[in-house]
């Protein structure tokens, strides 16, 4: 199911040159911010919740997942080099799964791990840090599946993905209750909250719901993406 050659090419393409800087910056900011705030407010307070939750979880994670997830396959589709990959007998499911795995791993590396580090740096928040780390890993997985799917469905995946992250996740799902089942951030939050219950996380979903939805969305997304990739068409000169 996992193809090392595809993984190696994908990882090199994603981490090459300037791209890696783009998603290393948010992670660096997170850790830097935590360090600065810890130095200036050693007594603690409410700031870890803001930094780890609002910044790390609600913004850093989805944004990093968006850029990486839409890039692993979307970049190749956009410039046409995906043909060289597809003109081989490799099963499309393998391609999708491998790219998804690389995206999830890189997102976890650049978003979940810094989250953990920041959480450990912040005073008295070890349990929360661990909970958020697990939640962020789950979030990385689900986001990656959805964004890889999006990049197969449209060349404008990052635009729609940004709309989703900024508007849907950022605004609506916090205000409108029922909508939370469609918000990946809330799956991750639900899991984090189950491990380290914290009022300030504003998690709306329980553990079971979050897990089930996370699995359903991931598997469904990957399946749909595979079916679409099997029917990949080269229609003349792309716009």
């Amino acid at each position: 199911m996992f193809n090392p050659t595809v993984a190696s090419i994908t990882a090199r393409a994603t981490l090459g040159r300037r791209r890696a800087v783009l998603f290393a910056i948010p992670a660096a900011i997170l850790i830097g911010l935590t360090l600065i705030l810890r130095a200036s407010h050693p007594a603690g307070g409410a700031w870890p919740d803001h930094v780890l939750g609002d910044f790390g979880f609600s913004i850093l994670l989805p944004l990093t997942a968006l850029i990486i997830g839409t890039g692993v396959l979307g970049g190749e589709i956009d410039d046409g080099s995906v043909v060289h990959l597809l003109a081989t007998p490799v099963r499309r499911a393998e391609v999708i799964f491998t790219k998804f795995a690389v995206a999830a791993a890189l997102t976890a590396l650049f978003a979940a791990v810094p989250e953990l580090i920041a959480g450990l740096i912040a005073p008295n928040e070890t349990k929360l840090a661990f909970g958020l780390f697990v939640g962020a890993v789950v979030g990385s997985v689900v986001y990656s599946a959805v964004f890889v799917l999006a990049s197969v469905l449209t060349t404008r995946a990052i635009a729609f993905g940004l709309l989703y992250v900024a508007i849907w996740e950022g605004l609506l799902s916090n205000f409108v209750g029922g909508v939370r089942i469609l918000s990946i951030a809330h799956y991750a939050l639900g899991i984090a909250n189950a491990i380290a219950p914290d009022q300030n996380l504003h998690a709306g979903l329980g553990l079971a719901t979050s897990l089930i939805l996370a699995v359903v969305v991931t598997v469904g997304g990957l399946y749909w993406a595979t079916r679409r990739l099997e029917a990949f068409s080269l229609t003349g000169d792309p716009a």
Partner: protein, 303 residues
């Protein structure tokens, strides 16, 4: 021995018909797919390569369709027109990766063989982003050949190559064709196609305009009538004078002037000035109206 069979294949996008009712067989040896831009050549190649589904008709590779069938890639290699390759890899890494993706038993050896074949050995350890256009073409061909396919599809392979590179590419393709492989390449330049291929398929506006030996088709093309449009002080009298000549095919009086179809380009050009002078007609405009490749192909379609 592999044959690609097209039976009444059509492909459309909404209202635009890209390929219109094509029936042809492509067998071993080198076949050239000739036609002006927009004729549907890329569409044909992409359909054979399994990257487009025919809207109608059947397209089979030795009996099995190519759409949604990744196994065909064991026997088929595609060199796409677009310049896009993994620019951050070196030539060797790219070909080697392709070999591994094809699950070859000895990817290193296959890669080295095909790099030698395309004369890329010197440049193989440089990044593809540093390659010239000709080198990119060659590395794409190398990647398409690494699994020793019976069928090789090339979309405008001579685009952007200088004469020496073109000769070399032709050599390579001729050799591969002589080994019994099925090679299909597309071009809109007749000279390229005729040098290399025994059989040509000519496409115009999605239809198959001509197929067969290129020499026969060439003969057809040089004997086609030329069309001129003239504006004179007395079209009708000139028309009457021209109709009597044996190089005149047809004469038409239109609102835009006199349209003359002639089968003997040279004779007409020599004579027109003489005729107008003798008849005391003032010739104000003389335009050839169909020097384009499209009209040439168009003529082929009509016949």
């Amino acid at each position: 021995m592999t044959t690609i069979e097209f039976r009444n294949v059509s492909r459309w996008y909404g209202n635009v018909v890209a390929v219109n009712d094509i029936t042809m067989d492509i067998g071993p040896g080198v076949t050239g797919l000739l036609g002006p831009n927009g004729a549907g050549k890329s569409t044909i190649l992409h359909m054979i390569a399994g990257f487009l589904e025919p809207s109608k008709g059947t397209l089979a590779l030795d009996g099995s369709p190519t759409w949604k069938n990744p196994d065909i890639y064991r026997r088929l290699g595609l060199v796409p027109e677009r310049d896009s390759v993994y620019a951050f890899l070196t030539g060797r890494q790219f070909v080697l990766a392709t070999a591994k993706l094809h699950k070859l038993p000895d990817p290193e050896r296959a890669a080295q063989w095909v790099i030698g074949l395309t004369e890329m050995a010197e440049a193989q350890d440089r990044r593809i982003s540093t390659y010239s256009k000709g080198m990119r073409q060659r590395i794409k061909v190398a990647a398409a050949l690494v699994h020793n396919p019976e069928i090789l599809l090339l979309d405008e392979p001579f685009n952007g190559l200088d004469p020496r590179q073109r000769l070399h590419m032709m050599d390579l393709l001729a050799r591969l064709g002589n080994e019994g492989r099925t090679i299909l390449f597309s071009s809109h330049i007749l000279e390229e196609v005729e040098r290399l291929s025994g059989t040509i398929q000519v496409m115009v506006a999605g239809r198959l305009a001509a197929s067969g030996d290129f020499r026969a088709i060439r003969r057809l093309m040089t004997s086609r009538p030329h069309v001129f449009r003239l504006k004179t002080s007395d079209d009708r009298r000139l028309a009457a004078a021209l109709v009597g000549r044996d190089y005149t095919h047809a004469v038409e009086l239109t609102s835009k002037g006199l349209q003359v179809r002639t089968s003997d380009f040279g004779a007409f050009c020599e004579q027109i000035a003489v005729i107008t002078r003798d008849e005391n007609i003032r010739l104000t405009e003389l335009l050839p109206t169909d020097e384009s490749l499209e009209s040439v192909f168009g003529y082929l379609i009509a016949n």
